[in-house]
């Protein structure tokens, strides 16, 4: 079982360019999340979706947008990347919002120059 698949694994991006990080899950989970991991700051929630067709803002949503057109896919878009968005991005899912465990993807390392 694939679980959560993220792409790309890593990317170098020029500041000002746009980028979409892809996330697909095959577990039919209702809720999906995007986190960023930064040294000394742990995992911080960017955006979440409790079910297909709905999204919500997390702790650090500025500069990012998401969509949830269907159950399986939850792409994260940076419209105009800035160096402070250099981070490792993790997509996660859970069966229902805020219950049980989160299942994480392997992460996407993004460097904005």
């Amino acid at each position: 079982t694939a679980g959560i698949t993220q792409a790309p694994t890593s990317q170098i991006l020029a500041a000002g360019r746009s980028m979409t990080l892809r996330c697909t899950q095959d577990m039919r989970h209702n809720a999906m999340y995007w986190y960023r991991q930064d040294l000394g700051l742990g995992l911080r929630l960017i955006h979440y979706s409790n079910t297909a067709g709905t999204t919500g803002k997390g702790e650090v949503p500025d500069g990012y947008s998401v969509s949830r057109a269907n159950t399986d896919d939850f792409p994260l878009t940076l419209a105009s990347a800035v160096p402070s968005q250099t981070s490792v991005y993790f997509c996660a899912s859970s069966l229902f919002q805020n219950t049980g465990e989160l299942f994480f993807g392997e992460g996407s390392r993004l460097t904005v120059l």
Binding site: R44, L45, Y48, F90, N98, E101, L102, G107
Partner: protein, 114 residues
């Protein structure tokens, strides 16, 4: 402001001994707590959880203790093994009362010395 804190960035333990990882939280609305383990270049994986109605949950070598009055939880690993070397994150949630979010600590890097 960090609502979940792991004040020890790193911990080293001899193989076979006990590892104790600590986590403090500030929000009294949190009622569900989880520990995740993360190896380099991999996503975090769920380890163990505890609900606020309990003060202890055990799963094999891993035990989580919750002290609600102190807003403190700890993860005990006994006996520690080299394969336990990883970064451990604690996380907390209060459901609707805390915005339906999981809040994570900054992580503790555990090294188990063979």
């Amino acid at each position: 402001d960090q609502q979940v804190k792991q004040n020890s960035p790193s911990l080293s333990v001899q193989e076979g001994r006990i590892s104790i990882l600590n986590c403090d939280y500030t929000n009294s609305m949190f009622d569900y707590f989880l520990w995740y383990k993360k190896y380099p270049a991999e996503g975090p994986t769920f380890l163990i959880s505890i609900s606020s109605i309990k003060d202890k949950n055990e799963d094999g070598r891993f035990t989580v203790f919750l002290n609600k009055s102190a807003k403190h939880l700890s993860l005990h690993i006994v006996p520690s093994q080299p394969g336990d070397s990883a970064v451990y994150f604690c996380a907390a949630s209060g459901g609707v009362l805390t915005g339906n979010q999981f809040y994570f600590g900054t992580g503790t890097s555990l090294t188990v010395i063979p």
